[in-house]
């Protein structure tokens, strides 16, 4: 395989500002999503994900402005998710400059949204995000959760992601709610179970604590690896992750040392 394993930082954005500490020195404004996106891009991020966690609907429009400014300055793919409920939401984010749109809770409630968005804009921009946790009552052993992992959906997570792919998801972002925040590594078992069911690209998320965790997610079947806090707090750099991946024999993309402009 020569397609590079994608390393993707995820930024939580609340009312236009990045939340969760970001620990880059020499940043003028550590809360500005555009500056951080640009920084991650120059440090080798292969894609970026903005997760809009804005609770107040009156402030949601700030995300469009953030996306538009990012797209004007950062020339790698940008996925935007969080609170996406309709085809109209897809359209607004894509128009603002997002390349892909992530959908989670709304698709669990109304799966046709996946098909509608894929039909209208193409599967390539529909990322279905699945927050799953271990649940012995489910036949696969994994259950879908919604609302940021706070509610069990009573739905088998693996059945759901296979259905999402059939409906037209171009990519699955699989987040382990058990591993999330533990820094004990990705849930390899869950990734492997998902890999066996779907042939769309799979982004593994949740649990990264050290650079050595990332190749294990790829060995389990992930096409891309996502992390948030370990990158933001400077515990692990994108370069270190790529070094580990390369040493494990996986292709990675090295950013050219020359910076245009």
């Amino acid at each position: 395989m020569s397609l590079a394993v994608r390393v993707i930082p995820c930024l939580d954005v609340d009312a236009g500002r990045v939340v969760k500490g970001i620990n880059f020195r020499d940043l003028r404004d550590a809360g500005d999503p555009v500056e951080l996106a640009s920084r991650y891009s120059s440090r080798g991020a292969d894609e970026l994900i903005f997760l809009d966690i804005t609770a107040s609907s009156s402030q949601r429009d700030t995300m469009f402005e953030v996306v538009s400014r990012t797209a004007a300055e950062v020339f790698i793919p940008l996925t935007v998710g969080g609170g996406v409920r309709s085809v109209a939401d897809f359209e607004l984010l894509l128009r603002a400059g997002a390349d892909k749109v992530g959908v989670n809770t709304a698709a669990v409630g109304r799966p046709e949204l996946i098909a509608e968005a894929a039909q209208r804009f193409g599967s390539q921009c529909v990322v279905v995000s699945v927050d799953a946790r271990r649940a012995p009552a489910m036949s696969s052993g994994f259950e879908v959760t919604t609302h940021g992992g706070r509610r069990g959906a009573g739905m088998d997570a693996l059945t759901w992601l296979a259905h999402a792919a059939e409906l037209g998801a171009g990519e699955i972002l699989l987040n382990s709610m058990d591993a999330d925040g533990t820094e004990n590594g990705f849930d390899a078992e869950m990734i492997t179970a998902a890999r066996e069911l779907v042939s769309v690209p799979l982004i593994a998320s949740g649990g990264a604590g050290a650079a050595a965790d990332f190749p294990l997610a790829v060995a389990a079947g992930a096409d891309a690896v996502l992390a948030a806090s370990v990158f933001h707090f400077g515990q692990v750099s994108i370069d270190e992750v790529k070094q580990e991946l390369a040493e494990a024999g996986y292709p990675v993309r090295r950013v050219p040392s020359t910076h245009g402009h």
């Binding site: 397609l3 020339f75 793919p77 400059g97 390349d99 390539q124 921009c125 171009g170 245009g260």
Partner: protein, 208 residues
Amino acid sequence: MAAKPSVVVFDYGFGNVRSCENSLIRAGADATVSSDVDLAGSADGLVVPGVGAFAACMAGLRRAGGDEVVANRISAGQPVLGICVGMQIMFANGVEHGVDTAGLALWSGTVERLAAPVLPHMGWNTVVAPRSSQLFAGATEQRFYFVHSYAVRSWSESSTTRITTAEHGETFVAAVEDGPLWATQFHPEKSGVAGAQLLGNWLAEISK
């Protein structure tokens, strides 16, 4: 000619036109997004973007009068750059979900589903460019960002056409340079510094 080449990113409802515009401006073009066929016809360079389904893009392009603009430009030797599905529709036809749709047929070849274990082919891949490539000058060792499930898998060589290939499950056409008509299956506007180098190479070519 003005110092900066004028480029129109043709807006027919498909493709991330803003990203194309932004990256072309960054690469040194006087770029605008427009659906005006006169502007598209007279610019130094025309970019035809495209995402989603082949049939939908072709229908959209025809509705917007883009098929005639492209054909007129090519017969007059005026540069055109197709990106992603904007490249695919330059070929004779595309087959998606069993539906065979005619393309602009500026090149022979059929756009078909790739045989690969994971689709879409999504991410940064390497390419094999011919030594004579002008598009990839200074960037042959770089990776470029692809997002697609369909591609041209067989083609006929010609002495005037430079074909760059890539592999995902099988070998496919990643870029073509053929007189005034150049195209990439990947997204130079999303390929970071490497993509900027390519767009700069195209702008240098159309400024000649």
